[in-house]
Amino acid sequence: MTNKTEILKDISNRKLNITRAFNAPVEKVWRAWTEAEQLDKWWAPRPWRAITKTMDFTEGGHWLYCMAGPNGEKAWCKVSFQTIEPGKNFVADANFCNEEGAIDANFPTMTWDNRFLSTDTGSKVEITLSFANEDDLEKIVQMGFKEGFSMGLENLDELLEA
């Protein structure tokens, strides 16, 4: 059974809400979201791969990783953990950066608020993605997703058609 991904846009509040159920206990889902070894297996949409350089899952700590594309391209990302409530919730700021983790101020900061809930059938994750400024949602669309990741998806389509 595949669980449905629900996405609600709240453009006037510069927010996107994503909800997804999992047929696994919340403890496992929490691990998959917070351990580098697990994140590297699923975080990047195929054919991209996530490769962790450093991971310090503590309040004030960072996850530095890159998204490696099928043609050798690399996009470095830094996730800065703000608050952590083990097994339940974490809030983090995500930025594009260089290989050393120096944040690229040309790109907007995206704030993640991830809530992990136990349900009758397993668990549920509720994600709120928010952007600080009016223009940021647009910028992330232009740079982060639209060109970067959808390019990845187009490559995937090509692979599937080949």
């Binding site: 669980n3 990047a44 009016e134 639209k146």
Partner: protein, 101 residues
């Protein structure tokens, strides 16, 4: 300068204009009455919306009426579809990771 639908919706006044036009077509003067800013400021926003093709204009007698361009607004949903695909793909991969954990 780049003009696209995301620029159209990036500004709160422009979103408010689109929300009003979604109810019914309006003249620039009728639109301006809904805002505390100057008519010039409102017309500037309308001009940007027109350049982004978020609105279209129709002449009715001596008046120009602005309409929402529904097809263009669907581009936002198209982007969301891409965004959804990314997340669905990610979560399907996560399902596999969870099986092995």
């Amino acid at each position: 300068m780049r003009r696209d639908i995301f620029q159209a919706i990036a500004d709160p006044t422009r979103r408010a204009i689109l929300a009003l036009l979604a109810i019914h077509a309006m003249t620039p003067n009728a639109l301006a009455e809904h805002f505390n800013t100057s008519r010039q400021a409102v017309s500037k926003h309308i001009q940007i919306l027109a350049e982004c093709e978020a609105v279209t204009q129709k002449q009715n007698g001596r008046e120009i009426y602005y309409h929402v361009n529904a097809d263009k607004m669907k581009e936002v949903d198209k982007w969301l579809d891409t965004f959804r695909k990314i997340w669905e793909d990610r979560f399907d991969q996560l399902d596999n990771v969870l099986k092995d954990l």
